[in-house]
Amino acid sequence: MRKKILGYVFILSTALSAFLVLAAIVVIIGKITAGGWDKLSLEFLTAAPKEGMTAGGIFPAIIGTVLLVSIMSLAGVPIGTITAIYLSEYADQGSILTKMIRFAVNTLAGVPAIVFGLFGLGFFIHFVGGGMDKIFSGNSELRWSQPNLLWASLTMALLTLPVVIVSVEEALRSIPVDYREASLALGATKFQTIVHVVLPNAYPGILTGAILAVGRGAGEVAPILFTGVAYYLPHLPSSLSDQFMQLGYHLYVMATQSSDVEATIGIQYATAFVLLAVTFLLNFSAIFIRYRIRARLR
Protein backbone atom coordinates (compact mmCIF):
# COMPACT_ATOMS: atom_id res chain seq x y z
CA MET A 1 0.00 0.00 0.00
CA ARG A 2 2.76 2.41 0.97
CA LYS A 3 4.57 1.54 -2.23
CA LYS A 4 1.48 2.36 -4.24
CA ILE A 5 1.05 5.75 -2.59
CA LEU A 6 4.72 6.51 -3.15
CA GLY A 7 4.18 5.68 -6.81
CA TYR A 8 1.24 8.06 -7.07
CA VAL A 9 3.16 10.82 -5.33
CA PHE A 10 5.98 10.35 -7.78
CA ILE A 11 3.69 10.46 -10.82
CA LEU A 12 1.98 13.53 -9.45
CA SER A 13 5.26 15.36 -8.87
CA THR A 14 6.58 14.59 -12.37
CA ALA A 15 3.30 15.80 -13.87
CA LEU A 16 3.43 18.90 -11.72
CA SER A 17 6.98 19.75 -12.82
CA ALA A 18 6.06 19.27 -16.46
CA PHE A 19 3.03 21.46 -15.92
CA LEU A 20 5.19 24.17 -14.34
CA VAL A 21 7.35 24.35 -17.45
CA LEU A 22 4.31 24.60 -19.66
CA ALA A 23 2.72 27.19 -17.36
CA ALA A 24 5.86 29.32 -17.41
CA ILE A 25 5.93 29.50 -21.19
CA VAL A 26 2.19 30.15 -21.41
CA VAL A 27 2.41 32.94 -18.83
CA ILE A 28 5.41 34.57 -20.53
CA ILE A 29 3.90 34.50 -23.99
CA GLY A 30 0.42 35.36 -22.75
CA LYS A 31 1.51 38.31 -20.64
CA ILE A 32 3.75 39.72 -23.35
CA THR A 33 1.10 39.34 -26.02
CA ALA A 34 -1.63 40.83 -23.84
CA GLY A 35 0.56 43.73 -22.70
CA GLY A 36 1.91 44.64 -26.11
CA TRP A 37 -0.95 43.81 -28.45
CA ASP A 38 -2.39 47.34 -28.50
CA LYS A 39 0.93 48.88 -29.41
CA LEU A 40 1.68 46.50 -32.28
CA SER A 41 1.04 48.21 -35.56
CA LEU A 42 2.73 48.83 -38.85
CA GLU A 43 3.83 52.19 -37.53
CA PHE A 44 5.40 50.55 -34.48
CA LEU A 45 7.52 48.38 -36.76
CA THR A 46 8.52 51.14 -39.15
CA ALA A 47 8.96 54.29 -37.04
CA ALA A 48 11.79 55.47 -34.81
CA PRO A 49 11.31 55.96 -31.06
CA LYS A 50 9.90 59.37 -30.20
CA GLU A 51 9.46 61.56 -27.13
CA GLY A 52 12.06 59.90 -24.94
CA MET A 53 11.03 56.42 -26.11
CA THR A 54 7.51 56.80 -24.77
CA ALA A 55 6.05 56.88 -28.27
CA GLY A 56 6.91 55.92 -31.84
CA GLY A 57 8.30 52.58 -32.91
CA ILE A 58 11.35 50.35 -32.83
CA PHE A 59 12.45 50.47 -36.46
CA PRO A 60 16.14 51.33 -35.80
CA ALA A 61 16.37 48.49 -33.27
CA ILE A 62 14.90 46.02 -35.77
CA ILE A 63 17.29 47.18 -38.49
CA GLY A 64 20.22 47.09 -36.07
CA THR A 65 19.35 43.55 -35.02
CA VAL A 66 19.00 42.42 -38.62
CA LEU A 67 22.33 44.01 -39.60
CA LEU A 68 24.02 42.51 -36.55
CA VAL A 69 22.90 38.95 -37.23
CA SER A 70 23.53 39.27 -40.98
CA ILE A 71 27.14 40.36 -40.63
CA MET A 72 27.56 37.85 -37.83
CA SER A 73 26.35 35.08 -40.18
CA LEU A 74 28.55 36.23 -43.05
CA ALA A 75 31.56 35.93 -40.76
CA GLY A 76 30.58 32.99 -38.57
CA VAL A 77 28.84 30.53 -40.89
CA PRO A 78 31.71 30.11 -43.39
CA ILE A 79 34.30 29.76 -40.64
CA GLY A 80 32.09 27.38 -38.71
CA THR A 81 31.35 25.33 -41.81
CA ILE A 82 34.99 25.08 -42.80
CA THR A 83 35.93 24.08 -39.25
CA ALA A 84 33.23 21.43 -39.28
CA ILE A 85 34.48 20.12 -42.64
CA TYR A 86 37.96 19.86 -41.21
CA LEU A 87 36.79 18.10 -38.06
CA SER A 88 34.48 15.66 -39.80
CA GLU A 89 36.31 14.97 -43.08
CA TYR A 90 40.01 15.56 -42.64
CA ALA A 91 40.98 15.48 -38.98
CA ASP A 92 42.51 12.31 -37.60
CA GLN A 93 39.85 11.54 -35.01
CA GLY A 94 42.30 10.11 -32.51
CA SER A 95 44.90 12.88 -32.68
CA ILE A 96 45.63 15.29 -29.87
CA LEU A 97 45.12 18.31 -32.12
CA THR A 98 41.58 17.17 -33.02
CA LYS A 99 40.76 16.54 -29.39
CA MET A 100 42.06 19.99 -28.52
CA ILE A 101 39.92 21.64 -31.20
CA ARG A 102 36.85 19.75 -30.02
CA PHE A 103 37.61 20.72 -26.44
CA ALA A 104 37.98 24.35 -27.53
CA VAL A 105 34.64 24.26 -29.35
CA ASN A 106 32.88 22.79 -26.32
CA THR A 107 34.52 25.26 -23.98
CA LEU A 108 33.62 28.14 -26.26
CA ALA A 109 29.99 27.01 -26.05
CA GLY A 110 30.13 27.25 -22.27
CA VAL A 111 31.78 30.67 -21.93
CA PRO A 112 29.35 33.26 -20.49
CA ALA A 113 28.16 35.78 -23.04
CA ILE A 114 29.44 38.75 -21.07
CA VAL A 115 32.97 37.33 -21.25
CA PHE A 116 32.67 37.35 -25.04
CA GLY A 117 31.72 41.00 -24.74
CA LEU A 118 34.83 41.75 -22.71
CA PHE A 119 36.95 39.77 -25.13
CA GLY A 120 35.48 41.74 -28.04
CA LEU A 121 36.30 44.99 -26.27
CA GLY A 122 39.86 43.95 -25.54
CA PHE A 123 40.66 42.15 -28.76
CA PHE A 124 38.59 43.68 -31.55
CA ILE A 125 38.23 47.26 -30.35
CA HIS A 126 41.48 47.94 -28.51
CA PHE A 127 43.87 45.57 -30.22
CA VAL A 128 42.60 45.27 -33.82
CA GLY A 129 40.71 48.57 -34.01
CA GLY A 130 43.44 50.47 -32.19
CA GLY A 131 46.01 49.01 -34.55
CA MET A 132 43.94 49.96 -37.58
CA ASP A 133 43.58 53.55 -36.40
CA LYS A 134 47.32 53.77 -35.81
CA ILE A 135 48.06 52.52 -39.31
CA PHE A 136 45.33 54.41 -41.23
CA SER A 137 45.37 57.77 -39.54
CA GLY A 138 48.23 57.81 -37.04
CA ASN A 139 45.66 57.99 -34.25
CA SER A 140 44.53 61.44 -35.44
CA GLU A 141 41.02 60.08 -35.92
CA LEU A 142 39.50 57.45 -33.65
CA ARG A 143 37.38 55.42 -36.00
CA TRP A 144 37.89 51.69 -35.55
CA SER A 145 38.99 51.75 -31.93
CA GLN A 146 35.41 52.53 -30.88
CA PRO A 147 32.48 50.17 -30.41
CA ASN A 148 30.75 49.61 -33.74
CA LEU A 149 28.64 47.29 -35.85
CA LEU A 150 31.59 45.31 -37.21
CA TRP A 151 33.18 44.49 -33.86
CA ALA A 152 29.84 43.64 -32.29
CA SER A 153 29.01 41.32 -35.20
CA LEU A 154 32.38 39.58 -35.03
CA THR A 155 32.08 39.14 -31.28
CA MET A 156 28.64 37.65 -31.81
CA ALA A 157 30.01 35.41 -34.58
CA LEU A 158 32.53 34.02 -32.10
CA LEU A 159 29.77 33.34 -29.60
CA THR A 160 27.64 31.46 -32.13
CA LEU A 161 30.53 29.58 -33.75
CA PRO A 162 30.03 26.40 -31.64
CA VAL A 163 26.37 26.24 -32.66
CA VAL A 164 27.35 26.35 -36.33
CA ILE A 165 30.20 23.87 -35.99
CA VAL A 166 28.17 21.30 -34.09
CA SER A 167 25.16 21.36 -36.40
CA VAL A 168 27.18 21.40 -39.62
CA GLU A 169 29.31 18.52 -38.39
CA GLU A 170 26.18 16.58 -37.60
CA ALA A 171 24.90 17.30 -41.11
CA LEU A 172 28.18 16.14 -42.71
CA ARG A 173 28.19 12.94 -40.69
CA SER A 174 24.66 12.15 -41.77
CA ILE A 175 25.77 11.86 -45.41
CA PRO A 176 25.88 8.09 -46.04
CA VAL A 177 29.31 6.56 -46.50
CA ASP A 178 27.92 4.91 -49.66
CA TYR A 179 27.90 8.27 -51.46
CA ARG A 180 31.46 9.02 -50.50
CA GLU A 181 32.67 5.57 -51.55
CA ALA A 182 30.80 5.79 -54.84
CA SER A 183 32.44 9.10 -55.59
CA LEU A 184 35.94 8.02 -54.56
CA ALA A 185 35.60 4.76 -56.52
CA LEU A 186 34.94 6.84 -59.64
CA GLY A 187 38.33 8.46 -59.27
CA ALA A 188 37.17 11.61 -57.52
CA THR A 189 39.59 13.20 -55.10
CA LYS A 190 38.54 13.72 -51.51
CA PHE A 191 38.14 17.43 -52.19
CA GLN A 192 35.92 16.78 -55.23
CA THR A 193 33.86 14.33 -53.19
CA ILE A 194 33.31 16.91 -50.47
CA VAL A 195 32.46 19.71 -52.89
CA HIS A 196 30.24 17.75 -55.30
CA VAL A 197 28.66 15.07 -53.13
CA VAL A 198 28.96 15.81 -49.42
CA LEU A 199 28.27 19.56 -49.25
CA PRO A 200 25.29 19.64 -51.68
CA ASN A 201 23.61 16.99 -49.56
CA ALA A 202 24.54 18.68 -46.30
CA TYR A 203 23.36 22.16 -47.19
CA PRO A 204 20.03 21.88 -45.30
CA GLY A 205 22.07 21.03 -42.22
CA ILE A 206 24.37 23.98 -42.82
CA LEU A 207 21.30 26.17 -43.18
CA THR A 208 19.94 24.79 -39.90
CA GLY A 209 23.19 25.69 -38.19
CA ALA A 210 23.06 29.19 -39.59
CA ILE A 211 19.47 29.70 -38.49
CA LEU A 212 20.15 28.41 -34.97
CA ALA A 213 23.12 30.77 -34.77
CA VAL A 214 20.99 33.69 -35.92
CA GLY A 215 18.30 32.76 -33.42
CA ARG A 216 20.87 32.72 -30.65
CA GLY A 217 22.52 35.93 -31.85
CA ALA A 218 19.24 37.79 -32.16
CA GLY A 219 18.47 37.18 -28.51
CA GLU A 220 21.83 37.93 -26.92
CA VAL A 221 22.64 41.33 -25.49
CA ALA A 222 25.68 40.86 -23.28
CA PRO A 223 28.31 40.41 -26.06
CA ILE A 224 27.37 43.68 -27.75
CA LEU A 225 27.16 45.83 -24.62
CA PHE A 226 30.80 46.87 -24.82
CA THR A 227 31.30 46.28 -28.50
CA GLY A 228 28.79 48.32 -30.44
CA VAL A 229 25.21 48.73 -29.29
CA ALA A 230 23.91 52.26 -28.73
CA TYR A 231 21.41 53.60 -26.25
CA TYR A 232 19.67 55.75 -28.79
CA LEU A 233 20.60 56.86 -32.30
CA PRO A 234 18.75 59.42 -34.36
CA HIS A 235 19.87 57.76 -37.62
CA LEU A 236 20.42 54.26 -38.94
CA PRO A 237 23.99 52.91 -39.16
CA SER A 238 25.47 53.69 -42.56
CA SER A 239 28.85 52.00 -42.25
CA LEU A 240 30.51 49.14 -40.39
CA SER A 241 32.15 51.65 -38.06
CA ASP A 242 28.78 53.05 -36.89
CA GLN A 243 27.03 52.07 -33.72
CA PHE A 244 23.54 50.59 -33.87
CA MET A 245 20.42 49.94 -31.82
CA GLN A 246 19.26 46.42 -31.00
CA LEU A 247 15.96 44.95 -29.80
CA GLY A 248 17.15 43.29 -26.60
CA TYR A 249 19.21 46.25 -25.50
CA HIS A 250 16.44 48.66 -26.45
CA LEU A 251 14.16 46.73 -24.10
CA TYR A 252 16.67 47.06 -21.29
CA VAL A 253 17.16 50.76 -21.94
CA MET A 254 13.45 51.47 -21.89
CA ALA A 255 12.95 49.49 -18.70
CA THR A 256 15.82 51.07 -16.78
CA GLN A 257 17.00 54.28 -18.37
CA SER A 258 13.90 56.01 -19.68
CA SER A 259 12.90 59.26 -17.99
CA ASP A 260 9.36 57.97 -17.81
CA VAL A 261 9.50 54.18 -17.42
CA GLU A 262 5.76 53.90 -16.75
CA ALA A 263 4.96 55.39 -20.13
CA THR A 264 7.15 52.90 -21.97
CA ILE A 265 5.59 49.75 -20.53
CA GLY A 266 3.27 49.06 -23.47
CA ILE A 267 6.13 49.58 -25.90
CA GLN A 268 8.32 47.29 -23.83
CA TYR A 269 5.79 44.49 -24.08
CA ALA A 270 5.45 45.03 -27.80
CA THR A 271 9.23 45.06 -28.26
CA ALA A 272 9.56 41.85 -26.28
CA PHE A 273 6.85 40.37 -28.48
CA VAL A 274 8.76 41.23 -31.66
CA LEU A 275 12.01 39.85 -30.20
CA LEU A 276 10.30 36.62 -29.18
CA ALA A 277 8.55 36.30 -32.54
CA VAL A 278 11.83 36.68 -34.41
CA THR A 279 13.76 34.13 -32.31
CA PHE A 280 10.88 31.63 -32.22
CA LEU A 281 10.37 31.91 -35.94
CA LEU A 282 14.05 31.26 -36.57
CA ASN A 283 14.19 28.30 -34.19
CA PHE A 284 11.03 26.75 -35.58
CA SER A 285 12.26 27.05 -39.14
CA ALA A 286 15.50 25.35 -38.07
CA ILE A 287 13.55 22.52 -36.45
CA PHE A 288 11.34 22.23 -39.52
CA ILE A 289 14.28 22.05 -41.93
CA ARG A 290 16.00 19.46 -39.76
CA TYR A 291 12.83 17.39 -39.61
CA ARG A 292 12.61 17.51 -43.40
CA ILE A 293 16.21 16.34 -43.81
CA ARG A 294 15.77 13.47 -41.37
CA ALA A 295 12.60 12.39 -43.16
CA ARG A 296 14.43 12.48 -46.49
CA LEU A 297 17.40 10.49 -45.24
CA ARG A 298 15.18 7.68 -44.01
Binding site: Y179, A185, L186, G187
Partner: protein
Protein backbone atom coordinates in the same frame (compact mmCIF):
# COMPACT_ATOMS: atom_id res chain seq x y z
CA UNK B 1 45.20 -20.49 -68.08
CA UNK B 2 46.45 -19.24 -71.37
CA UNK B 3 45.08 -15.72 -70.99
CA UNK B 4 46.79 -12.42 -70.48
CA UNK B 5 47.04 -11.72 -66.76
CA UNK B 6 45.46 -8.41 -65.75
CA UNK B 7 45.80 -8.52 -61.99
CA UNK B 8 48.35 -10.46 -60.03
CA UNK B 9 48.80 -10.54 -56.27
CA UNK B 10 51.82 -11.89 -54.43
CA UNK B 11 51.66 -12.81 -50.74
CA UNK B 12 49.01 -10.18 -50.17
CA UNK B 13 48.18 -9.82 -46.48
CA UNK B 14 45.92 -7.31 -44.84
CA UNK B 15 45.49 -6.42 -41.19
CA UNK B 16 42.72 -4.54 -39.41
CA UNK B 17 44.77 -3.40 -36.45
CA UNK B 18 46.02 -6.67 -34.96
CA UNK B 19 43.54 -8.87 -36.77
CA UNK B 20 44.74 -10.45 -39.99
CA UNK B 21 41.96 -10.47 -42.58
CA UNK B 22 43.94 -11.72 -45.60
CA UNK B 23 46.74 -14.26 -45.39
CA UNK B 24 49.33 -14.24 -48.14
CA UNK B 25 47.01 -14.34 -51.11
CA UNK B 26 48.70 -15.05 -54.43
CA UNK B 27 46.48 -15.15 -57.44
CA UNK B 28 46.53 -14.21 -61.15
CA UNK B 29 43.33 -12.82 -62.61
CA UNK B 30 43.01 -12.97 -66.40
CA UNK B 31 41.94 -10.10 -68.62
CA UNK B 32 38.51 -10.06 -70.26
CA UNK B 33 37.20 -12.81 -68.05
CA UNK B 34 34.86 -12.93 -65.10
CA UNK B 35 36.49 -14.13 -61.90
CA UNK B 36 34.21 -14.98 -59.00
CA UNK B 37 35.29 -14.78 -55.37
CA UNK B 38 33.27 -17.09 -53.17
CA UNK B 39 33.35 -18.15 -49.54
CA UNK B 40 31.42 -17.82 -46.28
CA UNK B 41 30.80 -14.41 -44.67
CA UNK B 42 33.90 -12.91 -43.15
CA UNK B 43 36.26 -15.02 -45.24
CA UNK B 44 37.97 -11.94 -46.67
CA UNK B 45 36.61 -12.00 -50.21
CA UNK B 46 35.19 -8.47 -50.04
CA UNK B 47 38.32 -7.23 -48.30
CA UNK B 48 40.39 -8.77 -51.07
CA UNK B 49 38.22 -7.08 -53.70
CA UNK B 50 38.72 -3.73 -52.03
CA UNK B 51 42.48 -4.11 -52.02
CA UNK B 52 42.37 -4.06 -55.82
CA UNK B 53 41.35 -0.39 -56.01
CA UNK B 54 42.76 0.52 -52.60
CA UNK B 55 39.36 1.29 -51.11
CA UNK B 56 40.60 -0.25 -47.85
CA UNK B 57 42.87 2.77 -47.50
CA UNK B 58 39.80 4.74 -46.45
CA UNK B 59 39.54 2.73 -43.25
CA UNK B 60 41.75 3.70 -40.34
CA UNK B 61 44.22 1.17 -39.00
CA UNK B 62 44.46 -0.95 -42.12
CA UNK B 63 47.88 -2.30 -43.06
CA UNK B 64 48.66 -4.11 -46.29
CA UNK B 65 51.67 -6.30 -47.08
CA UNK B 66 52.71 -7.92 -50.33
CA UNK B 67 52.07 -6.69 -53.84
CA UNK B 68 49.16 -6.21 -56.20
CA UNK B 69 50.21 -5.87 -59.82
CA UNK B 70 47.79 -4.43 -62.31
CA UNK B 71 49.25 -4.45 -65.82
CA UNK B 72 52.53 -5.33 -64.10
CA UNK B 73 52.56 -2.17 -61.96
CA UNK B 74 52.47 -2.59 -58.19
CA UNK B 75 49.58 -0.42 -57.05
CA UNK B 76 50.93 -0.39 -53.48
CA UNK B 77 54.28 1.12 -54.37
CA UNK B 78 55.06 4.70 -53.41
CA UNK B 79 53.92 7.38 -55.80
CA UNK B 80 50.86 5.54 -57.07
CA UNK B 81 48.03 7.97 -57.74
CA UNK B 82 44.97 6.42 -56.12
CA UNK B 83 42.70 8.70 -58.13
CA UNK B 84 44.14 7.40 -61.41
CA UNK B 85 44.00 3.84 -60.09
CA UNK B 86 40.31 4.13 -59.27
CA UNK B 87 39.52 5.51 -62.71
CA UNK B 88 41.08 2.42 -64.18
CA UNK B 89 39.57 0.04 -61.64
CA UNK B 90 35.87 0.79 -61.19
CA UNK B 91 33.70 -0.57 -58.43
CA UNK B 92 30.07 -1.61 -58.05
CA UNK B 93 28.82 -1.87 -54.47
CA UNK B 94 26.53 -4.34 -52.78
CA UNK B 95 23.92 -1.74 -52.01
CA UNK B 96 23.19 0.28 -55.11
CA UNK B 97 24.24 3.81 -54.30
CA UNK B 98 23.20 6.30 -56.94
CA UNK B 99 23.73 9.92 -55.88
CA UNK B 100 20.56 11.87 -55.10
CA UNK B 101 20.92 13.51 -58.51
CA UNK B 102 19.28 12.96 -61.88
CA UNK B 103 20.06 9.85 -63.91
CA UNK B 104 22.03 12.00 -66.33
CA UNK B 105 24.06 13.71 -63.60
CA UNK B 106 24.80 10.37 -61.97
CA UNK B 107 26.40 9.01 -65.13
CA UNK B 108 28.05 12.33 -65.99
CA UNK B 109 29.57 12.65 -62.51
CA UNK B 110 32.77 10.77 -63.31
CA UNK B 111 33.49 12.51 -66.63
CA UNK B 112 32.70 15.90 -65.09
CA UNK B 113 35.12 15.54 -62.20
CA UNK B 114 37.69 14.62 -64.81
CA UNK B 115 37.15 17.95 -66.48
CA UNK B 116 34.76 17.08 -69.30
CA UNK B 117 32.09 19.78 -69.51
CA UNK B 118 31.28 19.84 -73.22
CA UNK B 119 27.56 19.10 -73.38
CA UNK B 120 27.83 17.12 -76.60
CA UNK B 121 30.61 14.86 -75.35
CA UNK B 122 28.82 14.34 -72.05
CA UNK B 123 25.58 13.43 -73.85
CA UNK B 124 27.49 10.89 -75.85
CA UNK B 125 29.22 9.35 -72.84
CA UNK B 126 25.96 9.19 -70.89
CA UNK B 127 24.10 7.47 -73.72
CA UNK B 128 26.92 5.05 -74.46
CA UNK B 129 27.38 4.15 -70.79
CA UNK B 130 23.66 3.62 -70.26
CA UNK B 131 23.50 1.48 -73.39
CA UNK B 132 26.39 -0.66 -72.22
CA UNK B 133 24.67 -1.05 -68.87
CA UNK B 134 21.51 -2.18 -70.74
CA UNK B 135 19.49 0.61 -69.20
CA UNK B 136 19.18 3.11 -72.05
CA UNK B 137 16.01 1.76 -73.64
CA UNK B 138 14.17 1.78 -70.32
CA UNK B 139 15.00 5.31 -69.22
CA UNK B 140 16.07 7.31 -72.27
CA UNK B 141 13.07 9.62 -71.87
CA UNK B 142 13.59 10.09 -68.13
CA UNK B 143 17.21 11.23 -67.97
CA UNK B 144 16.23 14.17 -65.75
CA UNK B 145 14.45 11.98 -63.24
CA UNK B 146 16.18 11.28 -59.94
CA UNK B 147 18.34 8.18 -59.90
CA UNK B 148 16.67 7.28 -56.62
CA UNK B 149 13.29 7.00 -58.36
CA UNK B 150 14.41 3.91 -60.29
CA UNK B 151 13.73 0.34 -59.20
CA UNK B 152 16.43 -1.56 -57.30
CA UNK B 153 17.64 -3.44 -60.38
CA UNK B 154 17.66 -0.28 -62.48
CA UNK B 155 19.57 1.57 -59.76
CA UNK B 156 22.25 -1.09 -59.78
CA UNK B 157 22.55 -0.90 -63.57
CA UNK B 158 22.72 2.88 -63.24
CA UNK B 159 25.65 2.43 -60.88
CA UNK B 160 27.27 0.17 -63.45
CA UNK B 161 26.69 2.81 -66.14
CA UNK B 162 28.19 5.43 -63.83
CA UNK B 163 31.28 3.26 -63.36
CA UNK B 164 31.56 2.65 -67.12
CA UNK B 165 31.43 6.37 -67.86
CA UNK B 166 35.00 6.90 -66.66
CA UNK B 167 36.23 4.23 -69.04
CA UNK B 168 37.67 1.71 -66.60
CA UNK B 169 39.55 -1.43 -67.60
CA UNK B 170 38.61 -3.47 -64.55
CA UNK B 171 35.23 -3.69 -62.82
CA UNK B 172 35.08 -4.86 -59.22
CA UNK B 173 31.62 -5.98 -58.15
CA UNK B 174 30.81 -6.56 -54.50
CA UNK B 175 27.73 -8.81 -54.44
CA UNK B 176 26.05 -6.60 -57.03
CA UNK B 177 22.83 -8.62 -57.14
CA UNK B 178 22.40 -9.66 -53.52
CA UNK B 179 19.65 -7.12 -52.88
CA UNK B 180 17.77 -7.73 -56.14
CA UNK B 181 14.81 -9.92 -57.05
CA UNK B 182 15.41 -12.91 -59.38
CA UNK B 183 14.37 -11.07 -62.54
CA UNK B 184 16.59 -8.06 -61.86
CA UNK B 185 19.37 -10.44 -60.86
CA UNK B 186 19.22 -12.28 -64.16
CA UNK B 187 19.39 -8.96 -66.01
CA UNK B 188 22.51 -7.96 -64.10
CA UNK B 189 24.02 -11.39 -64.75
CA UNK B 190 23.34 -11.09 -68.48
CA UNK B 191 24.97 -7.70 -68.38
CA UNK B 192 28.07 -9.06 -66.64
CA UNK B 193 28.31 -11.69 -69.33
CA UNK B 194 28.25 -9.02 -72.03
CA UNK B 195 30.62 -6.67 -70.24
CA UNK B 196 33.48 -9.14 -70.09
CA UNK B 197 34.10 -8.55 -73.78
CA UNK B 198 35.49 -5.13 -72.90
CA UNK B 199 36.32 -5.32 -69.21
CA UNK B 200 38.07 -7.54 -66.71
CA UNK B 201 35.53 -8.37 -64.04
CA UNK B 202 36.04 -9.55 -60.49
CA UNK B 203 32.83 -10.35 -58.66
CA UNK B 204 32.17 -11.29 -55.06
CA UNK B 205 29.09 -13.42 -54.64
CA UNK B 206 27.31 -15.48 -52.02
CA UNK B 207 25.25 -17.21 -54.61
CA UNK B 208 26.85 -20.43 -55.88
CA UNK B 209 24.58 -20.70 -58.90
CA UNK B 210 25.48 -17.16 -59.83
CA UNK B 211 29.18 -17.87 -59.61
CA UNK B 212 28.69 -20.97 -61.74
CA UNK B 213 26.59 -19.09 -64.28
CA UNK B 214 28.58 -15.93 -64.83
CA UNK B 215 32.21 -16.64 -64.05
CA UNK B 216 35.06 -18.19 -65.97
CA UNK B 217 37.30 -18.55 -62.93
CA UNK B 218 36.47 -19.03 -59.30
CA UNK B 219 38.47 -18.40 -56.16
CA UNK B 220 37.33 -19.92 -52.89
CA UNK B 221 38.29 -18.02 -49.75
CA UNK B 222 38.09 -19.32 -46.21
CA UNK B 223 39.06 -17.37 -43.08
CA UNK B 224 41.39 -15.05 -44.94
CA UNK B 225 43.05 -17.71 -47.01
CA UNK B 226 42.73 -18.58 -50.65
CA UNK B 227 41.84 -22.24 -50.48
CA UNK B 228 41.42 -23.01 -54.14
CA UNK B 229 41.49 -21.15 -57.42
CA UNK B 230 40.83 -22.39 -60.92
CA UNK B 231 38.44 -22.57 -63.81
CA UNK B 232 34.88 -22.36 -62.61
CA UNK B 233 33.89 -25.57 -64.39
CA UNK B 234 36.63 -27.47 -62.64
CA UNK B 235 35.97 -25.91 -59.21
CA UNK B 236 32.30 -26.75 -59.38
CA UNK B 237 32.61 -30.26 -60.83
CA UNK B 238 35.84 -31.62 -59.44
CA UNK B 239 37.02 -29.41 -56.60
CA UNK B 240 40.52 -30.27 -55.46
CA UNK B 241 39.97 -29.64 -51.77
CA UNK B 242 37.43 -31.06 -49.38
CA UNK B 243 36.64 -27.60 -47.91
CA UNK B 244 35.73 -26.29 -51.34
CA UNK B 245 33.50 -29.21 -52.05
CA UNK B 246 31.76 -28.88 -48.68
CA UNK B 247 31.10 -25.20 -49.26
CA UNK B 248 29.89 -25.56 -52.82
CA UNK B 249 27.55 -28.40 -52.00
CA UNK B 250 26.15 -26.38 -49.11
CA UNK B 251 27.47 -28.43 -46.23
CA UNK B 252 28.67 -25.26 -44.50
CA UNK B 253 28.79 -21.54 -45.07
Amino acid sequence: MNNVTKIETHDLSLFYGQKQALKKISVAIPAFRVTALIGPSGCGKSTFLRTLNRMNDLIDNVRTEGTVLIDDVNIYQNGIDKVELRKKVGMIFQKSNPFPKSIYDNVAYGPRINGIHDKKILDEIVEQSLRRAALWEEIKDDLRKSGLALSGGQQQRLCIARALAVNPEVLLMDEPASALDPLATSKVEELIYELKEKYTIVIVTHNMQQAARVSDYTAFFYIGELVEYGETKQIFTTPGKKQTEDYITGRFG
